[in-house]
């Protein structure tokens, strides 16, 4: 258990080193990975898994994943980017992901936050309230 905790701590430290001005920097991540290859820690796989999870979370914080059932034009995406950047006070880039299961509407995910305005989401809410 202790070693797992130490691995988590090391992964957190490495994640911190991978940020440049608060954003994940590809060259820094590369440098961290090559360092780990040269100097493998005690539990390399555990450390790398934790590191991957933390980096993925950092990336998700700066990205608005827009799931959509119909067509989303560039203007709407730009609006979403602007609104989210304003809300979170950091630059957020929007990426689209088609999802016909939504029936209609949008579902936007920024980090842990989910903005649901799809028909499928509303139907799911109705099922829960029943």
């Amino acid at each position: 258990m202790q070693s797992s905790r130490q691995s988590q701590q090391l992964a957190r430290h490495l994640c911190h080193l991978s940020l440049d001005d608060g954003t994940v920097s590809a060259p820094r991540v590369g440098a961290v990975l090559s360092f780990l290859q040269r100097h493998p820690p005690r539990q390399p796989l555990t450390v790398l898994k934790h590191y991957r999870r933390l980096i993925a979370r950092e990336l998700a914080r700066r990205q608005a994943v827009v799931e959509h059932a119909g067509v989303v034009d560039a203007r709407i995406l730009a609006d979403i980017e602007a609104a989210m950047s304003r809300r979170y006070r950091r630059t957020i880039a929007a990426v689209t992901r088609p999802n016909p299961g939504l029936i209609a509407g949008l579902r936007i995910r920024v980090g842990d936050d989910l903005y649901e305005s799809s028909v499928a989401g509303q139907l799911a809410a109705l099922t829960v309230s029943d």
Partner: protein, 508 residues
Amino acid sequence: MSTVIEQIEQQIAQLSSKAVRKNTGTIRAIADGVAKVDGLSDVMYNEMVQFPGNAIGIALNLEEDEVGCVVLGDVAQLKEGDEVFTTGKLLSVPVGKALLGRVVDALGRPVDGKGPIDAREFYPVERIAPGIILRKSVSQPVLTGIMAIDSMIPIGRGQRELIIGDRSTGKTTIAIDTIIHQAAINRQGLASNDPAFRPLYSIYVAIGQKNSNVARTIASLEAAGALEYTIIVTAPAADNPANQYIAPYAGAAMGEWFMENSMDALIVYDDLSKHAVAYRQISLILKRPSGREAYPGDVFYLHSRLLERAARLAAKGSLTALPIIETLAGDVSAYIPTNVISITDGQIYLETDLFNQGIRPAVSVGLSVSRVGSSAQLKMTKQVAGKLKGELAQFRELAAFAQFGSDLDARTKAQLDRGSRIVELFKQPAFNPIPIELQAAVLWAMQNNYFDPIDVKKIVEAASHLKEFLRTRKSALLAALRKNAAIDETLGVELKKALEEWKGSYTG
């Protein structure tokens, strides 16, 4: 006018189609009813979280990278990668009179097959106990119907009285007897239409018990007509530890509703040893640091915050708590028993040896105490039982010494004789509570030496004969005793007359 309505409706439509923000996370690991969740960055401590398939959980461990949640419900359907949502709400359970006569689980959902519960109010499971200013001292009795307890270890409304003892010593029986007796008092009081009468509703929380035991308890309450004044909250041994951990708090929330609404309630936690074990299990899975007997550091707080919720409030009602603790081989100095002993306002200690000797209820007079209840004792009980505890304690001491020698002086012999008679008199079968006026009459007879000519072995029989005699032939006297709640000169004379009459009629 219709255009105005349309405008409002348009506004509502716009609002209802607005995006809903949820904070989410994903299950990273799940085992033994505890899920480790990645994400949920906005979750609050003790907040309810929504798992797929309508399962809910509580966020108990907020760590830097993950959240530890206990899952209340079926964990078998959950898997790694499932999405979890925050709800922004604390766990709440239905409360109110609609729950009376029902058997519910730790979340207040009915499990008795009697259909849905029409509860209109919900109380949070975790609540801060009432403060000092709101409280009032204990001055009204909770009558258990058990002579040994009502006379020597009285309990008051708002008190916390621990019932402690080894397995199979009659701990649950005492609690059930009390519920049955209170139901009988409620029936009588409500039928009398006395505006000053305050019924006492009961909540029985079964934690980590066998389903067969819970079914037996329900059957006993139903047979005695006590179920209609009782709520049963059950988290049996087969339930996951999270439900067992939550159940007493859910029961306390239901009891608090009665207290807040100027009513009185009694709650039985059966038992807190199993509750502590369930909490230890959760804590170990959550990887919280463990301390003595592998319990987490906050196991005292686990029980103190629960039992502090029992109180008597000024200008409101009361919540009396009867927690039960099971000891191992009579060890009252173990971790959990000492914790709960120090929290409560007294304890009823049941001894295996006494139980095996046939002394039931097996109350150990020396180790049992009620710290506040005596101020709630009725005057007539004080009059007849004031010296009983001392006499019995003396008897136990002398009896221990008498084993070593046969030559005893007359005074010691008399004390031993009297003590053994009192012990016999306190023997009482299970689920057979005795009304307080009848208890007072029998004890008055004992104090006035009416049992002295009777052989010790026949005291139980004589006492039941006397009770039957008073019930059937002197009901007016009993009613007067109940009304007065004190034995004055007139009642003393009447009691004497009645007992002389009984003495003449008893041929045993």
